[in-house]
């Protein structure tokens, strides 16, 4: 799992779950950038594959911490100061000696829950997939 992977899991994690799972990793730290709620402009493409255009914004919270010289950046979707700080602390933990522990206790379970939810919705969607049947017209 590389940094892009874990930051992506943290950004998409449900806030309550992330905050609870990250609590044991709350190391003493210096706040480099206090949690800030902002927006990002989400882009789409004309006809799905053509020229980019600005679709609309979404809320994002970010935070940066320094844990004993290791800088952790947290970005989360939505508005949660605590979740952004938790994400930054986990980012720092993942770069240090507690990486394996944080991966097992925070990242893997969050990813597994997300994938399970997604599989459940996909299975419901597929159950509404139309199976066409052809009427025998008796022409042969």
């Amino acid at each position: 799992m590389d940094r892009r992977d874990w930051l992506s899991i943290l950004a998409r994690a449900p806030h309550d779950d992330l905050i609870a799972r990250a609590a044991p990793f709350a190391a003493p730290h210096e706040t480099l950038r206090a949690p800030e709620i902002g927006s990002v402009m989400v882009r789409g493409r004309a006809s799905g594959t053509g020229a980019p255009f600005n679709l609309g914004e979404m809320t994002v919270t970010r935070c940066s911490v320094d844990v004993g010289g290791t800088v952790g950046h947290g970005y989360v979707q939505g508005r949660s100061v605590e979740a952004a700080r938790a994400a930054a602390l986990i980012d720092a933990a993942m770069q240090g000696g507690r990486a394996a522990e944080a991966e097992a206790a925070v990242l893997r379970p969050i990813l597994a829950a997300r994938e399970a939810l997604s599989a459940k919705r996909a299975a419901k969607a597929e159950a509404t997939s139309v199976d066409f049947f052809t009427l025998v017209r008796g022409e042969d």
């Binding site: 709620i37 990002v40 882009r43 255009f53 600005n54 609309g56 914004e57 809320t59 970010r62 939505g78």
Partner: protein, 357 residues
């Protein structure tokens, strides 16, 4: 003309207090929560998000509660809040081809790779009021386990045969939240304006093209609803991450032809994309997008839906309601002038009549 007026503070305070009480409704009935609104009034939430142009279901739910269910008022609240947020960046364009579809249908091909997935649609319901709706106990939802077949774009299937006009390339798109709209607007700017436009307005504009005011002969090539991943480059990291996930609705229409002496005829495209589940709006948007391309495609113009100024300058319900509703606010001085004018005209007319007699 506006003149500062004083007074009325006590009345305004009393009005606000009563508003809060009316909003709460009967105190014996439990108050609504944001979770109830996001979970059970999902489509209202989607409408407030897309017209507010800010994806945040919890905020939209709060706005709906605060606005007593008036969705345009809720959109107004979201727009006002949005202006207070620092802009942290622009994302990569979302890849709707990789959408996890909860619905995906085509009106042009029956057997398409990945199948016709109906999803939780109203389409085949009887539209009869269900008086048992409040009752407990749901039928269990059926599932079909196993691998999910990929769902390639329908327009891609036509592309392969060269039957579809190519999707045009483009650079950095204009942003109407940063630079005011100026006309004529390019397609990227138009799509941004249409994406945040009032659903009712777009629906009527689209309907007008179907009835003959700028006909485009649209087929819904594909309509898909589902979750997409949002990726963004993080400057301090120097690489991109998945920064979130959102449900969007996409509609691509296949329309009648363009072609020239040198180029053979090809189908043309109309496009609709919305935040959240907004099927009616996405279809409307794709029809209006296509209508607004009439001039570039060398078609006859003149219908309302083909007129950029008419469509783009009147589609925003916050702007429209702001200007419309301001006429109920005090215009005492303007009206005083009107009163004096009409009294003078009547007096003068009377004098002329007397003089003639």
């Amino acid at each position: 003309m506006y003149v500062a007026t004083k007074g009325g503070e006590v009345a305004i305070d009393a009005a606000h207090a009563w508003l809060a009480e009316e909003r709460r409704g009967d105190a014996a009935t439990p108050a609504l929560t944001d979770a109830q609104v996001t979970g059970q009034l999902t489509l209202s939430v989607a409408r407030v998000m897309v017209e507010g142009a800010l994806y945040d279901p919890d905020l939209a739910a709060l706005a709906i509660r605060q606005a007593r269910g008036d969705l345009i008022e809720a959109v107004f609240l979201i727009r006002a809040y949005r202006t207070t947020l620092p802009r942290l960046g622009y994302t990569d364009p979302i890849d709707t081809g990789a959408m996890q579809c909860e619905r995906r249908i085509s009106a042009t091909f029956k057997d398409l790779p990945g199948g016709q997935v109906l999803g939780p649609t109203f389409d085949y319901t009887h539209r009869l009021l269900d008086f048992a709706l409040a009752a407990e106990g749901l039928e269990p939802t059926t599932t079909r386990e196993g691998p999910v077949p990929p769902k390639p774009r329908v327009s891609g299937l036509l592309d392969r045969e060269g039957l579809m006009e190519p999707a045009e390339e483009g650079g950095v798109p204009g942003d109407v939240t940063r630079t005011p709209l100026s006309l004529p607007a390019d397609r990227a700017t138009r799509l941004q304006v249409l994406a945040r436009a009032d659903e009712g307005f777009l629906l009527s504009m689209a309907y007008s093209t179907q009835r003959g005011f700028g006909r485009t002969h649209a087929f819904v090539g594909e309509l898909r609803i589902g979750a997409v991943v949002v990726e963004m480059e993080i400057p301090e990291l120097g690489f991109g991450i998945e920064i979130g996930e959102m449900v969007v609705t996409e509609c691509e229409t296949v329309n009648q032809f363009t072609g020239s002496g040198v180029a053979p005829p090809q189908f043309t495209r109309g496009y609709g994309l919305t935040l959240g589940r907004c099927e009616r709006k996405a279809i409307s948007m794709s029809l209006v997008d296509r209508a607004l391309r009439a001039e570039e495609l060398g078609e006859e113009t003149g219908a309302p839906a083909q007129d950029q100024e008419f469509v783009l300058m009147h589609s925003d319900n916050v702007q429209a309601t702001g200007f419309l509703e301001h006429i109920k606010l005090p215009h005492y001085v303007d009206f005083q002038a009107e009163l004096e004018l009409i009294r003078r005209l009547r007096r003068e007319a009377g004098e002329r009549r007397e003089a003639a007699e």
